[in-house]
Symmetry: C2
Subunit: 377 residues, 2 copies
């Protein structure tokens, strides 16, 4: 063993089922970096110990690991190129596979065939600490799905204020609240929790939440989110995802949402969504993508007007307060309406230049705030 | 009427069902040009006459038209922007729609709403002659599907020899034969025909055939292909596609296919395909994308060797003739194997530098010829 360490080489030999290896590689390889100058972040690390192997990949922010059963003939760790190993093993689902190191390569033996891949140095792979358990919050899987689906699309996409690429996740009075904003619109969603140890207030990357969303299982399952310092961890069906959290201050959102409105409407979501979608067909051809709401007693006009043509529709509403005209980016309106899950929604306005706020007709389980577009017309 | 003509304006007024208009627009808009400097080729022309409207679009090469029932209140013709009209009408499937011209626009009235789009001058729309019937060939829909699927992927993709972007379609002794080649490989497929008037020998754009392939209906339906001068026409369920044909001489392919081979193998297609796919995972990382066949009595080696690793598999074969080693582009081999529909295929070789030929184990219903890659090794 000492001689081996002296040669800085990696040893490992295992036998496992192709279907299990393939499933595990596909799951963890999602965390491989696709645009990096550091090749180790494109790798999957395979560690053989006792009677199992653990696969892990990370892009430096998110790490995903999964343990599967294997005959371990020689314990050790190797780093294989993630994409190629994953593409290759995917095509060996019906075979029993032997992985064995030899001269800096891994020899992959299956059926009558023997292939090989170059290895990277497993010592260069970043250490991933999945021992995260200081604080915990537990909720229903379907509620976490909804929290993610209703907020992450409002995260900023560019790097100008990195903290806005994250979602503010905090527990408050027996509920968990997700908040995302990009400077033009904001999403807030709240759900009851089943239990917790210690209040949580973190900024979690939107990407991390979307990746968790894709991993989530049956709606009625319980899911635990663990937090410690600047790390988060969830474990779903033997797949463990850990993620760095963003440090720094999130925008103080407590004063952003107006408490009162000069105009408030209740409208059938589907009807408004369809009108906005049609207006958007033309609005999208213009760089401002403006859809205009002309709100009056009993009905609202939904219109767009571009070089190619104009859409002018009428949607039934119930109005409390003053008539109002407002110009909004049709993409933001469409995305909020698509994320809303109630048949009727309430939208509050304070004139043409103040943000409008969309909520369910009853309750405060979610909220969207959209800044209007200032038009010169 | 004379005054109207004097003003060069278009008049038309019709009422129709959204579901029918939407279906028709979606079908014909496929022929709209997406990259043109001539805006009229991005349009759908709608002509109202008697008790129906005819929609037509063309990119200058392919034209698709479809006639649907409508209440024609005023006969005439208009040109609407294809993509926007199509996207918009698609969202009005449940409505009754009125189209009426006014001041160079079309007013679209539905439910309580009224929208409009700018029109282009219908007189600028190219004349499309669907009166094509000099020659005719009739075959089963499933046979035409197979002819298209087995050949068009071998058409040249670039413009260096435009005629190679087409498929040579010719009738011979009660059969129809499709031939496509791109300078590196060739596909030939033959099917029986049900009837014909006059022998056909045309070069049909691969795009046209792929578009026809997408329109084709039930396998057992009969389909007629009409040809006149440099035009082709098919009519499927009231949708009529016409296309220009390529003029010029196709490559003389009669001497390309070798009649005899020094080595001939019979191999299970699926097993070879899977091995080639795995070899391709690594081969694709290299610009030559080489998979090597090492053919010996009883088995063939399928291998690829790149910086990242090597794949080395063994596939059972029956060999007649000499051992042979040959290097091929894995993409060409994969695509041919995927298009082949027999469980076992025959591949003939004449050494390492001559083209190899893949056919069904029995019969000559299709054939692929692939040029080897010359390796310096």
């Amino acid at each position: 063993m000492q001689e081996r360490k002296g040669r800085q080489e990696e040893y490992m030999k295992i036998i496992c089922e192709g279907i299990e290896l393939s499933d595990a590689v596909l799951k963890v390889a999602k965390a491989c970096s696709t645009k990096t100058t550091n090749p180790i972040l494109e790798c999957v690390k395979i560690t053989a110990e006792n009677d199992s192997i653990t696969l892990i990949a990370t892009d430096g922010e998110i790490a995903i690991q999964r343990k599967i059963k294997a005959d371990v003939l020689e314990e050790g760790a190797i780093c294989v190129p993630g994409k190629f190993f994953s593409d290759f093993i995917k095509k060996l689902e019906n075979e029993q596979i032997t992985l064995a190191t030899e001269d800096g390569r891994v020899i992959i033996t299956y059926a009558d065939s023997e292939s090989s891949m170059q290895l990277l140095n497993a010592d260069d792979f970043p250490a991933i600490d999945a021992n995260i358990g200081e604080k915990k919050v537990e909720l229903l899987t379907k509620d976490l799905k909804e929290l993610i689906a209703k907020t992450t699309f409002c995260c900023a996409q560019d790097d100008s204020r990195p903290v806005l690429k994250g979602v503010l996740v905090q527990t408050q009075e027996g509920r968990i609240c997700f908040t995302a904003l990009d400077g033009y619109r904001m999403a807030v969603c709240r759900k009851n929790i089943l239990g917790m140890t210690g209040d949580i207030k973190i900024i979690c990357p939107g990407r991390t939440l979307n990746e968790i969303g894709r991993m989530l299982g049956a709606d009625e399952d319980r899911i635990e989110i663990f937090v410690q310092k600047n790390m988060l961890m969830v474990s779903i069906d033997d797949t463990v995802l850990t993620s760095r959290l963003y440090e720094g201050e999130f925008v103080n959102v407590s004063n952003i949402v107006p408490k009162e409105f000069t105009s408030e409407i209740v409208v059938e979501k589907e009807a408004l969504d369809e009108s906005v979608e049609r207006a958007a067909v033309l609005a999208r051809t213009d760089k401002n993508s403006i859809v205009t709401f002309d709100i009056r007693e009993g009905s609202m006009g939904v219109s767009s007007n571009t070089m190619i043509g104009r859409v002018n529709e009428s949607v039934k509403i119930m109005l409390e307060g003053k008539d109002v005209q407002i110009a909004l980016n049709c993409k933001y309106v469409s995305e909020c309406l698509n994320a809303a899950t109630d048949e009727t929604v309430r939208i509050g306005f304070n004139g043409a230049v103040a943000p409008c706020v969309l909520t369910p007709a009853e309750g405060d389980s979610y909220l969207y705030l959209i800044l209007p577009v200032r038009t010169t017309a």
